[in-house]
Symmetry: C2
Subunit: 397 residues, 2 copies
């Protein structure tokens, strides 16, 4: 057999069709450029990355070090160690007064894995998932990865940037299999009212669909404690993470509470696509629920609240429109239409000429995206103040 | 809006269609039962799990501890830290004499993520990937997850359980987009001859497809050094891992060398589906390439070889047919047709009545799977000897 004329130069590069459905993170261009500028000695106030500014609490780090010294770091059960699943179950009892069996809890390699596996067990090609616009950009890409379609439903200040039962009912089609909501929301920081959540759940249930609730920013809220969808439903997928409240982004550990009927499928898919989650993170995360760690996380939350209060007031003074107070998460989603009709261009200009990095709206959907930007505020107040000073100077106010 | 009659009991549970294409790991039933028996005080010789028996080398663990104490464990670039990508590039120079740009190296959350993302950028729904049968079970499930189809090509001792250019040519169809091979192979431990690999690459190239080569067990070979597909091709996806040679399974870290033309797509998909790989593992893995670590890994390899030599001879004496000497990886794939026509039943019986856990052939495909079992031999010789003693007693020889 000979193929004497076959060379690399002749090959057409074939690419999977899903790639055309998946958008890059535009903010990555901002972040990469910010790093270039920093490397060149330019001082940048970086409010672009959605990440806590705090260290992982010390008891968690100490547990990791102990585990590294004592254990061999092996493959583990695909749904997580018994110890950590039990600790998460206990957390639901302690924090929410809920009795969630550890058998329904799957520990995952970040909530990214929780989202991929959730879509993997729910979405057949062509199936639709409803979600609000704006929303966390990866959500629609997890659906696309599984060959499903996202129906982005524009939401605004009138519904606190959240879906309503009426919106869900109106957009439901024969191909719809589920609804994905987040409370607190990224990028708006808005919460979903418990009654609205309950109504949405009823509509989803009546249509034999599945409700997926992102509770990743639970713990980072600035009012009374937020309720979990698990308080009234056991047929929902509830996604959570150690990244935000517990300040463990780089550890890559999350979890999901599953409906009983999906546990076996989820496990089978997790075995195949992930084998297991990192051992050191799982051993460490048990210490996340220690009272001393919780105390540290709640102190961080107080700082987030101060940071939000400061930046929210300043941005409004400058002329950004923020019609709904963000009541959770670590973001302010601001209408910048007073300054631009092209928020990506605005972000680039702000970075190059004022040294402030923020995220453009078009990462979060198509709904008035060019008139919005996202500020991620977990920074010390003096850093935020310097960012505000630069914004004011740059915008001439 | 009211849906007074909607309750959880009425819901039909909808499941994604891909789930019917994905098979559970049958060996997990064996492993789970083995753990149950162990918990009940039964002594089990466990040769079922594909995992090194050795600790992660100390310099790697020490680097992890240092990183935990010094760093904040944050999100990182989606393709990995510059430091680790450069270290892997340097490894190709040092070990293979190859000049592989770090820009073509993507660090992933285990080779599991490398495989998922590779299929994600290559496979559109309905596309076919050719692979040998027997093969690593997850390979076909990564394809199924992305709505592609695996064409399992039966291979046997006549081709060292590997594909040939002729087999690839014969099974190529209009829907075929790639070929996946592994050398050393899991479960057979066989190597692919460098000339055969080159011929297969030519056929794939002539058909405008993509070759994916699993080199996860590189470093764990028992003869002269094995060559990488990268030695003659820059349009292949080469999957590798820190799990096996570097004994880092539970850390969940792998890598892939990408064709230039796919780097941007791979990065975009990695950003969306994983964000980044665990920081502690990335910081630690840099120490994997330290000469002292390599020395430790090569000592481990000598032990693997002794273990293979011991078990191979014993199994043949017992009456298992092993027509091709496994020359790499950590497995012996044995024809058990002298003892059974149902290898899963055989495995269950062996576990329950002789206290030896091994993997049934049907995890690895459909090709005479019921007449094969896989032994994973990284255990101290006395443990293997006890396993052999039990086998002999159980089989009456």
């Amino acid at each position: 057999m000979k193929h004497p004329h076959a060379t690399g130069n002749e090959s057409k590069v074939k690419k999977a069709s899903r790639l055309s459905q998946i958008e890059p993170f535009h903010v990555m261009r901002i972040i990469t450029r910010a790093m270039e500028l920093q490397a060149a000695g330019v001082d940048i106030v970086n409010l672009a990355i959605g990440e806590p500014d705090f260290e992982t609490p010390p008891l968690i780090v100490e547990a990791a070090v102990r585990a590294l010294k004592a254990s061999s770091m092996r493959y583990l059960p695909s749904l997580g160690t018994d110890e950590l699943r039990a600790a998460i179950s206990q957390w639901y009892r302690h924090r929410y007064g809920l009795d969630i069996s550890k058998n329904r809890i799957a520990v995952t390699s970040g909530s990214s894995a929780a989202l991929l596996l959730t879509m993997g067990v729910l979405v057949s090609p062509g199936d639709e998932i409803l979600m609000p616009d704006p929303t966390y950009p990866c959500n629609r890409n997890f659906v696309s990865a599984m060959e499903g379609r996202s129906t982005l439903i524009p939401v605004g200040p009138d519904t606190d940037y959240q879906l309503t039962a009426e919106l869900v009912e109106r957009h439901w089609t024969e191909r719809t299999v589920g609804v994905m909501i987040a409370s607190p929301s990224n990028p708006t920081g808005s919460l979903m009212d418990a009654d609205v959540l309950r109504e949405i759940h009823q509509v989803v249930q009546a249509n034999y669909g599945t409700l997926i609730v992102d509770e990743i920013y639970h713990g980072v809220t600035y009012g009374e404690q937020i309720s979990s969808a698990l308080e009234f439903a056991d047929d929902v997928f509830v996604i959570n993470s150690f990244s935000k409240y517990f300040a463990m982004t780089g550890w890559r550990l999350g979890w999901v509470v599953l409906p009983e009927a999906h546990v076996d499928d989820f496990e089978m898919l997790a075995q195949n696509l992930y084998i297991s989650s990192p051992e050191v993170a799982q051993r460490a995360a048990v210490a996340a629920f220690h009272p001393e760690t919780i105390k540290a996380c709640d102190v961080n939350r107080m700082h987030y609240q101060e940071q939000r209060d400061f930046l929210l007031a300043e941005l409004r003074t400058i002329g950004f429109k923020i019609p709904v107070d963000p009541m959770g998460a670590i973001y302010i989603y601001a209408d910048c239409s007073k300054f631009t009709k092209d928020s990506f261009d605005f972000c680039q200009d702000l970075l190059e000429n004022a040294g402030v990095a923020i995220a453009p709206g078009l990462d979060f959907g198509a709904n008035r995206a060019s008139e919005h930007v996202r500020f991620s505020y977990p920074k010390a107040i003096p850093v935020l103040a310097e960012g505000v000073r630069r914004l004011k100077e740059h915008l001439g106010c």
